[in-house]
């Protein structure tokens, strides 16, 4: 069967919710961080799907979306670099990456 736009959107939706569930449930900060990247990639998938399926007047797919996908990927990379640096610094200071331990700031 030919893959329509809805299939891609379904997959990206699933990916997004899996990523979000990961952020909510997992204990380790690094795993949470990975799930966040997962959500970003879900957005990439749906972007590419949209640009592929609404073909412009001249028969070529609309390239704006794909430009945005590249930006998303680069930004995600930058975010990971900075994020991991912070997590490492936290580990060095507190010897833990578990989310329950870092709750000194409250109320």
């Amino acid at each position: 069967m030919t893959l329509t736009l809805n299939h891609y959107l379904l997959v990206s939706g699933l990916l997004f919710s899996i990523g979000f569930a990961g952020v909510l449930l997992r204990r380790n900060i690094i795993i949470i961080f990975m799930c966040l990247e997962l959500m970003l990639n879900a957005a990439n998938l749906s972007l590419v799907a949209f640009s592929r399926f609404n073909v412009g007047a001249d028969g070529l797919p609309n390239f704006n979306a794909q430009v945005l996908t590249f930006f998303i990927i680069t930004v995600a990379a930058a975010e990971v670099a900075v994020g991991l640096a912070i997590i490492v610094a936290l580990y060095r200071a507190r010897q833990t990456t578990h989310v329950e331990d870092i709750t000194t700031l409250k109320f």
Binding site: V23, I32, V99, I102, L105, K106, F107
Partner: protein
């Protein structure tokens, strides 16, 4: 403003200037204060004597002048006010003269004379007023000066309470008075008496309204002239010095109510229903007061109740025969002022001589040592009780004549009051002056110095001749002497005097004890209960409700703080918790927007 228009202004403002001078300049030196005040009273008397001869004048200054409301301060010198001027300034001067001796050793004499002049100013203001608003202004000023004078010896609690009570009763009366003025003004469009006279057409369109307005205005008179419901303050006002009682609570202030009713007699004439009610209230007051007077022991209280009773007479007269030039009421007011002032001053002389002893059962046999006072007091009593050919006889006779024409029950009440008056006055005279002295102080009572007895003599003479004033002073229509009234009145006088003479001559204590009369029909206690019941209870409830309202306000503040405290718990520190709430927020928002 030619010279004979200046005189009434001079009469009005002269006591004010003296009062200001005394209260602010001569606060310390008492001697000069007394003389200045007495001189100003004398000039007032001279002024009103000249004013008596003048033609009626009416000059005014606009006090408040805004479109829709013109309140003038005017001086209306017509027949009615000329007579009243004579009474007020005459007795005023005599009382001033009298109190220079009576208040000799009072440490705040200057303050006394200052307040006395203030009273003269306010009283003259009422007499000369040409409109309701100005009359209301001086009405309140008279109330305040009586408050100040009653409370002269303010260190005594009784004086303070009596002064408060007097002022409150007047204030309740003024409430009705102001409401009446408002009703009349809103219909007639003007406050001046002349304007009201011109506007009688519009006033009579709604008779019910007119009756209500007149009765409300009468309410003011009730407060001031101590009529039935609002009369309990007058006996307590005896706490003040005796000259004050003589001037204010016998001759002038209490008569202001009657004078005001005379001033608006043309209105009362328009509504017979109101006139009848006024007459009945006067009658009730006089009979009640007369009954109460029979059982009092304090000399000043007996005279106070007798004043109450005579005032009831005058109000009854106004109700029965509202005559623009005064009628029987003003005639009786004129004569009553003289002999009641005489009686009070006489009583003052007795009290002064017996070093502030006021209970008649502790006096007795004063006639031996105080001949002049006794003679003058006798003349005064005779005039009051209606001894033939004396002042009281003529004026009471004219009232009873008016009563007999209009309504026989009032006539019968009038006769009973005449009997009772004769009874209690003779009782007083017999117990205090005749018989043998009961106490040591009564033994060496002596006549007072000249400046006290001279006023007594003058007043005695006046009490005799006051009855023979020309008719046109008080009556617009011709009055013929009616025998069918004079005879029953004299019989009543004779009966009352005889009974009292027989019962009280030679007794050491009061043979008749009627507790109802003695403690004034328990009216004071009833009023106290009413005030305590309504006002204090309501005040307590109001205060509780008010603290409830401020409680609610504080509660609102605390509730906000509490909610804040709960919201604060949302920040429990765990990042995953935050992202959970974040997710919840997203899902909630989308559900709210997309699906609802």
């Amino acid at each position: 403003m030619n010279n004979n228009e200046i005189i009434p202004w001079f009469i009005l403002l002269n006591p004010l200037i003296t009062a200001v001078l005394i209260l602010f300049v001569f606060r310390k030196n008492h001697g000069t204060a007394a003389t200045v005040s007495t001189m100003s009273a004398f000039f007032g008397l001279v002024g009103s004597l000249c004013a008596f001869t003048l033609a009626p004048t009416h000059t005014l200054v606009l006090w408040i002048d805004i479109p829709g409301l013109q309140i003038p301060i005017g001086v209306q010198l017509d027949h009615l006010s000329q007579v009243m001027l004579l009474v007020v300034t005459g007795i005023g001067f005599l009382v001033h003269l009298y109190s220079t001796v009576y208040m000799e050793h009072d440490e705040s004499k200057a303050r006394f004379f200052g307040h006395l002049s203030l009273f003269m100013f306010s009283m003259l203001g009422i007499v000369l007023a040409d409109n309701f608003a100005m009359m209301f202004i001086f009405w309140e000023l008279v109330g305040v000066s009586s408050y100040l004078l009653i409370g002269h010896w303010f260190t005594r609690d009784a004086a303070g309470k009596a002064a408060n009570k007097a002022f409150m009763m007047n204030r309740i009366g003024d409430f009705g008075f102001m409401l009446g003025i408002l009703m009349l003004w809103s219909t007639a469009g003007t406050v001046t008496f002349k304007g009201l006279e011109a506007a009688t057409g519009t006033l009579t369109t709604n008779p019910m309204f007119l009756t209500a307005a007149i009765l409300l205005v009468f309410c003011g008179a009730m407060g001031k002239s101590a009529q039935f419901p609002l009369h309990t303050w007058l006996p307590d006002a005896m706490e003040g010095p005796t000259p004050v009682s003589a001037l204010i609570h016998a001759a002038t202030m209490v008569a202001a109510g009657v004078f005001m009713l005379a001033r608006i007699a043309f209105l009362i004439g328009l509504s017979p229903a109101a006139a009848l009610i006024i007459a009945w209230i006067g009658a009730i007051t006089s009979i009640l007061a007369a009954l109460m007077a029979t059982q009092q022991d304090d000399i000043k209280r007996i005279l106070a109740y007798s004043t109450l009773s005579q005032l009831g007479y005058m109000v009854m007269a106004i109700g029965l025969a509202p005559d623009p030039s005064g009628g029987p009421a003003m005639f009786h007011l004129f004569t009553h002022a003289f002999f009641k002032a005489l009686l009070f001053l006489g009583a003052g002389a007795v009290i002064h001589a017996l070093h502030h002893e006021q209970d008649i059962w502790k006096m007795g046999g004063l006639s031996k040592h105080m001949p002049k006072t006794t003679v003058t007091f006798a003349i005064g009593t005779a005039a009051l009780t209606g001894f033939p050919l004396l002042a009281g006889f003529w004026s009471k006779d004219s009232i009873l004549a008016a009563a007999s024409e209009k309504s026989t029950p009032l006539y019968i009440i009038g006769l009973c009051v005449a009997v009772l008056t004769a009874f209690y006055m003779t009782r007083l005279f017999v117990v205090a002056f005749l018989g043998k002295p009961r106490t040591e102080a009564a033994h060496h009572g002596h006549d007072c110095p000249a400046r006290m007895t001279v006023p007594l003599l003058i007043l005695a003479v006046l009490s005799v001749i006051a009855g023979f004033v020309p008719e046109k002073w008080f009556f617009s229509a011709h009055q013929h002497f009616h025998w069918n009234i004079a005879i029953p009145a004299t019989i009543a006088f004779a009966v009352g005097t005889a009974i009292a003479f027989k019962i009280y001559s030679g007794k050491d204590k009061d043979p008749i004890r009627v507790s109802a009369f003695r403690n004034k029909f328990y009216l004071d206690e009833i009023y106290g209960a009413i005030v305590a019941g309504t006002q204090d209870v309501l005040a307590y409830i109001a205060n509780a409700v008010d603290s409830l309202i401020s409680g609610i306000v504080r509660l609102a503040g605390m509730a906000a703080w509490g909610v804040g405290f709960l919201f604060r718990l949302l920040q429990f520190g765990n990042v995953q918790g935050y992202s959970f709430v974040f997710g919840l927020g997203v899902v909630g928002l989308i559900w709210f927007v997309v699906f609802k």
